[in-house]
Symmetry: C2
Subunit: 392 residues, 2 copies
Amino acid sequence: MPHDVFPRSEYESRVERTKERLHERDLDAIVVADPANMNYLAGYDGWSFYVHQAVVVTRDYPEPVWVGRDMDRNGARATTWLAEENMRAYSDDHVHSPYDLHPMDFLADVLEDLAVDAGRIGLEMDAAYFTAKSYTRLRSQLPNAEFVDADLLVNWLRIHKSDREIAYMEEAARISEEAMLAGLDAIEAGVPEYEAAAAIYDRLVRGTDEYGGDYPAIVPLMPSGDHTGTPHLTWTDREFEEGDPVLIELSGCRHRYHSPLARTTFVGDPPDAIEETADVVVEGIEAALDVVEPGVTCERVEREWRETIAQYGVEKEDRIGYSMGLGYPPDWGEHTASIRPGDETVMEEGMTFHMIPGLWEDEFGVELSETFRVTSTGAETLADFPRRLFTA
Amino acid sequence: MPHDVFPRSEYESRVERTKERLHERDLDAIVVADPANMNYLAGYDGWSFYVHQAVVVTRDYPEPVWVGRDMDRNGARATTWLAEENMRAYSDDHVHSPYDLHPMDFLADVLEDLAVDAGRIGLEMDAAYFTAKSYTRLRSQLPNAEFVDADLLVNWLRIHKSDREIAYMEEAARISEEAMLAGLDAIEAGVPEYEAAAAIYDRLVRGTDEYGGDYPAIVPLMPSGDHTGTPHLTWTDREFEEGDPVLIELSGCRHRYHSPLARTTFVGDPPDAIEETADVVVEGIEAALDVVEPGVTCERVEREWRETIAQYGVEKEDRIGYSMGLGYPPDWGEHTASIRPGDETVMEEGMTFHMIPGLWEDEFGVELSETFRVTSTGAETLADFPRRLFTA
């Protein structure tokens, strides 16, 4: 069954650009272990990243080579565009092995087959799932290779989105809107947090009337009450109470492409202070979105946010956004450009960012986000959702 | 806010046993990066493992030390039992940094503070999230340290469950039963896969009438039709069709403890061949469960499965199960004992395993699993769910 998420030509162009980077950096090959990068180049899509796997691209060999567990070879057949001989699978005794076997031993053999075992090989040194052991094992297996940190090489290609990628992110945005509505509807005093999470999840997966949703790379987060200062705690059995601020951050997902969205709601009658803070956040994010256009730097956009909120006496120097799109747990971010001081990345048409600024006072926090794409003239937000403090 | 998932004494006992292992292996400290191990020792529970974080245990310092991102310090305050001075947080410019800063630079300083920077330090070399870069960076920051692979040191402690851990797994089992029912109910010809996934997810998160569910470490998997040979592909927009076998594997989760469950259903009237295969799987798993008792080895249990199915002419030598419990994405397995040939781990009372054998023919697969705990006399399955082929 051929993969049809993108036309073959789109994958080929991604591989071509990867090979150009290899050439520029004088690398003979790269071992791609980030599941999002594996998907980007080969189309591979499965929840198998709890075992070691990779896609290898060399300068000379035409296609990428998928390397994974034998049990997942059929999954590679079903989702990648690769020829049969370019799916290489190791036996199950390599998995959590008591036999001193490691998947990287097998990968080393593949690199030998591809005649790059004495070459300069790029590794994604800081990618989740490319472990310290994978590195030391590869080194000991291939003593004649020179290993080079090529972290983010493919991620930086991903920062430019094709029309089809944007279309999937727009589909994801439709799901994000529905899921945010479901979450806002579910939250009220006396309702346990997990019920709101369930309502959001149901919508994230059920999707819209036209298509379903994929699992998001990050679970819906909704710190509430005292916990608005703990952005990465997940839902509990606690019931929402009158006077709780609740920050909801979630993302719909289509074919692994995300469009995150965050809003804040308040259970009960919001005090003036939180309304005022929300107004500042809205003004700040709108000012920052207004300066986005091709040619502007990421740090410039952050500065606009910072200067806008400074008018209200708020000083805060932070990362307020990042490039994102395709992703697997634990993260939908691309780990490349950040909207923060010192990041001189120049925005270009077709890039997509999640801008998520927030302000935290002692008693509450307000967070509000937009996923946007850079158009020829400015920023276009993917979701269409009111920018204001909600009440429950 | 103190952590109350386990009494403080239970955490202290875990730390004590960790220190005994450090002593046995002549280690001065261990850097624990696996989120499940971090939770096990410190109680820390947040979706923050997309940035580098760790818990450090040394032989001499009384408490573990949590090391994470500044933004997550409040989360550590809310979920760990640690004293304020034992939560050390790095600034946000270490995150996906363009400034040549890495969280391991900060961790190296912590190790210096703890006076183990010239000691023998254990690392979880093959843990997801402990990247190659984390390793090389730590090495370059601490040239006088000796680094030792201490992978799975804490995981092997986790294999013995306390009564309270078992109680959470039993709560998770109640959720697994409900979610499996919801999935079986939802599947029928003409229903898209994502609708069944949404029904399962809703129940996984909504939980039972008494308590909610946590997010599972692995999303519900339900390969169907031609895809039953692709165990790790996730749901799509495809509609179930008459004649589809569907394998459902899912797990409820409570306080990060899992109780996975798998069953097979058939859309329409099942052919005799699949009924017969299902009977063999049921007989095989029941025979294997029957030989479980304290003192028996994992390989012995696998052999019982293999010899049972061999009576029906089926030959298959595979891993059919593994130790599990506490977990975060990407995996609920503990990566220690496996029920497979060559694994001589001796089963003891209080251990918990997921036994998940399956048989695949050309046209279909049948999978059926049980999570069980080893009691003083045998195996007790956590879920109570009919063991048979279902039809939709």
